[in-house]
Amino acid sequence: MTPLLSFRDVKRSYTKSVPVLDGVSFDIGEGEIVGLLGRNGAGKTTIVRLAIGMLFPHAGTVELFGLAPTTHPVEVKRRIGYVGETQELPGMWKASELIALHRKLYAEWDGALERDLIARFALDTGKRIGALSKGQAQQVALLCAVCHKPELLLLDEPAGGLDPVARREFLETTIQLLNREGTSVLFSSHHMSDVERLGGRVLLLNEGRIQVDRDLDALREQVCVATLPSRLASDHARLAELPGCMRVRQLLDQIHAVFEGTPAQVQDQLVQAYGEENRAHMQCRVVPLEELFIELLGGERLEAAA
């Protein structure tokens, strides 16, 4: 079956020889919810813009429904919905005018869903978009992105800059849409609690590549963080070479290492490597996504030289 979205060895840079994406490959299948995570500048927005055809890849291929979005813009856009962090909505237009334009553009427009969402958001569609709050403007953008019943919804940091209430409302609406329409979603977010609530699969971008591509629950249950005193594992390379080691970093007098495996498995592995007598000094635990993100991407803090 053709995936809804497919990236094959995609490369893209904005400045010569500084790649933002340096060989990115992944597929999104029907019904999948995929969270795109990474630090600022990791290339999340670049991936979404490549997917909607706003950018060309410099190498590799991007396909939606088996079509390149840059050569088949109309066919592709008919089947996707997009909400960006800073949506460029025409501020002088009334919300009702923008919605009417979308209604005309899309043959499959669902008028009932439109009325539903307007009522739910309590939108005053007679207002100019420029006069709406940021949260309301995002709701208009979401409405315009979903009422043609897209097969794939692309949300680029959709709740960025929204207050907690507006962010939760946006999440509630997204989840209601998942329930009603079964849409597939690719979303980027810095809010790990939102990622946990939306579930599904996680893509972690780091240094232009996908460092982690895994089911969220598997990541939460089968990846753990080990802490060792740095005197035990002063040789980072040796630790990093143990099977399943994903990251090693120093935090003052401790070494933090991210491993594949349950805490019990990783503990056994570490005891084998560093000796039974050190068992009590090595702790392994599963951690929430936010902590895992920091363990995988956070910097080191070296001890001050004595």
């Binding site: 209601q176 946990e196 609530r197 629950d217």
Partner: protein, 162 residues
């Protein structure tokens, strides 16, 4: 929605059902050590053990729970699927999901591990608070009386608290 196995409860309107289910006090915390589907599983199992959910009682639909807790419908499905595998709930195609009419005995080894951890926690807290072992036993007896209707208990209270 009919409430099976609840003959002593007056019939509830659909909107009351929601309130009744919240007696189960489901909530999710994304920054918990457990993934959300595990949190749901544990809370539903606790609700069954604490008799907030009766044997044979209907559970909220995937959609209802997903929208109420603001979590993905697939997460609810995963929690229900796992609970069904363990034998705590049964889903009937097109009708909904129900607490099983009889509950499984969990694998004894797993159960013992959890219970011995819980017992150690209880005892160390009690000793910290200055309680004696006999007083802890009295606490347990009192707790046992409040669980008189616990559907998970294997022996009737009369036999155990003789």
């Amino acid at each position: 929605m009919p409430l099976e196995g609840q003959s002593d409860t007056p019939a509830l309107a659909a909107s009351d059902m929601v309130i009744y289910i919240t007696a189960m006090q489901l909530s999710v915390n994304p920054s918990d050590d457990l993934p959300i589907y595990r949190q749901l599983m544990r809370q539903i199992m606790d609700a069954i053990a604490g008799a907030q959910l009766e044997l044979g009682e209907q559970l909220p639909s995937h959609r209802e729970l997903s929208e109420r807790l603001v979590i993905a419908p697939l997460t609810v499905k995963k929690a229900y699927d796992e609970l069904e595998k363990l034998g705590y709930i049964v889903s009937q195609r097109g009708r909904g999901t129900y607490v099983a009419d009889s509950l499984p005995r969990r694998a004894r080894r797993v159960q013992n591990e959890h219970l011995s951890e819980a017992a150690q926690r209880l005892l160390s807290q009690a000793y910290l608070a200055g309680l004696s072992f006999t007083e802890v036993v009295q606490l347990l007896k009192a707790a046992d009386r409040t669980l008189a209707h616990d559907p998970t208990r294997s022996t009737p209270p009369s036999k155990r608290t003789a």
